[in-house]
Symmetry: C2
């Protein structure tokens, strides 16, 4: 069978299975292996986190619509978002780079300036990496971080009766991608907002710390889209979820630019790198009072079919939406999760 037939998630399941069967996928100190936002193991006195991504020119990004500096920021930001989704703090990053030999030195330095900007803002050290020749630009950052035992945010543990919260706005990054790809023109305020939303995601490290402090223990970051990422939580937790479309946080500028289409962007658009989290209503209310980042309650956890996500719109069900984006199964370019 070709991997495009099995799909990304199917292949991941297969790999997870063989690794576990071989006994190298679990150990006494390994808290989370293949299948969460980052791996987590019990170090001395704290939980060590490790997360990696691989981003390929022409598949995940296009240097015609973004600068090298923006590429540097974003490629590292999405990894910090995975650390945030675990409730962790980032510490170090090592960067593997594949570069065509006719790239300008100045362009590589710009790429690094983007990463340096992020590193400064989030107290991250750039401590090493690997450079190689390659037919196209490839970036594979790995970020190490840490958290506290018993205070991680994971995909499992959501229980019926709990509510679903989201930080910030949904669909803005996908709206930005659509604008850049299709050359859509809006007024300068909208253009700037959409461009930033797509190219300059801000990892929710501080917000995740607040969630942890208030006793939230279930979260994921929005890389594939609300429905797809919420489905990961529901699968890992063995529960069903119900989302109310009216309560989705759509930014006013996105609504004014995309009208009715905003709803679809908010449900299925990826790469917002906001946090979806699950907890009791009073905890979510306390979280909301403590951060300047907006927090919305978008739905609830139900008993029922594990992994199912229902979307209600004006009281009736929208049915099952497409499952967000999977590598291999689609030609659609996006950033990896």
């Amino acid at each position: 069978m070709k991997i495009r037939e099995l799909g990304e998630f199917g292949l991941l399941e297969e790999l997870s299975r063989v690794v576990k069967e071989a006994g190298v996928g679990q150990g006494p100190d390994l808290l989370l292996g293949i299948g969460d936002d980052a791996s987590a193991w019990l170090g001395l006195g704290r939980v060590e986190l490790l997360t990696t991504d691989i981003l390929v020119e022409g598949v995940h990004f296009d240097l015609k619509t973004m600068s090298w500096r923006e590429l540097g920021w974003k490629s590292l930001a999405v990894n910090l978002s995975d650390i945030a989704a675990m409730g962790g703090q980032p510490s170090q990053a090592v960067i593997s780079l594949g570069l065509p030999e006719d790239v300008e030195v100045e362009q590589v330095l710009e790429l690094y300036q983007g990463m340096i900007g992020l590193a400064k803002e989030f107290n991250l050290l750039l401590s090493g990496g690997d450079l190689t020749a390659s037919p196209m630009v490839i970036i594979s950052p790995t970020v190490a971080g840490y958290g506290k035992e018993g205070q991680l945010l994971t995909r499992s543990g959501a229980r019926p009766g709990q509510l679903i919260g989201v930080t910030g706005y949904l669909g803005s990054a996908a709206a930005g991608l659509q604008m850049l790809r299709e050359g859509l023109e809006f007024d300068p305020e909208i253009t700037l907002y959409l461009r930033q939303a797509h190219l300059h995601p801000v990892p929710r490290i501080a917000e995740a710390q607040k969630l942890v402090q208030e006793g939230i223990r279930v979260a994921i970051d929005v890389s594939d889209g609300l429905v797809a990422d919420l489905r990961h939580i529901c699968q890992a937790s063995g529960v069903e979820a119900e989302v109310e479309a009216e309560n989705l946080p759509v930014h006013p500028l996105v609504r004014s630019a995309f009208g009715e289409a905003s709803l679809r962007l908010a449900l299925a658009g990826g790469e917002d790198y906001e946090l979806i989290f699950v907890g009791e209503e009073e905890k979510i209310q306390r979280v909301r009072q403590q951060m300047s980042t907006p927090v919305s309650i978008v739905g609830r956890i139900l008993p029922g079919e594990a992994g199912k996500v229902k979307v209600l719109h004006q009281g009736s069900s929208l049915g099952e939406l497409e499952s967000g984006w999977e590598h291999f199964k689609s030609g659609k370019a996006t950033w990896s999760c």
Copy 2:
């Protein structure tokens, strides 16, 4: 300036400089940043190590001359070799994979079986990663490990009067690469040995532990070739080195197959993933007595020009050899360091 004009090491220096200037390349706990075999920082009670590689089909490997399982073993083994070169023990690996969509699921599972074989042998957990679509196969493993404070092997600290030791044999992997590339035919014993040397390197984790126990503190693994890698030690330590060609450990099967050309393979051929280390003669003798892996003394450290490596052959100098392989500056395919 194009990066092919500046070269890999020149670009690395530039990146190291901007990262340091920005203040994100050093911190109170960071022991080693850009420029050694792995990054090292002071964790709670131990030193944490992190190393990464990026391997691109057509640049670093060719699936016509190696199996998917061999590719899995080797791509992870070279990272474990970097942990060995720091005197560390590996703990976890995360694997970023880029795969064309028409790859067979069975091939990806074979790739993982190669990595699983290595993980079992070296007590490594495969704890996560990332999968994405890509026009060619890309593998970017990151390995985390740990060592003890004050007991790391680094590139700096070599002093005049110390001797240069090497584990195992040199040039065998390059001989194997030449055989596979040029379709050379030898008798079955030689063919098997050369194939294994190139495709199945065994990271010197246990040997590195013995070096550390006997008080050795300077080492590097042979990825670019003896002269090129020894030059890294000499640059980092501000010393010169002298190598005696007669003392290079060339395997008898390589000598019988390649004759006089073996010398060049041993001096400039990369990818043996043996350890080059520096220390006092009595320490090297104690190390030699304690391991079944052969240990050779191949030269000595001298005062003089920082970074210079002289090769003596039958009493006279061979002069400066080419500096081993640099990405971008050469079209020669190899594995990255």
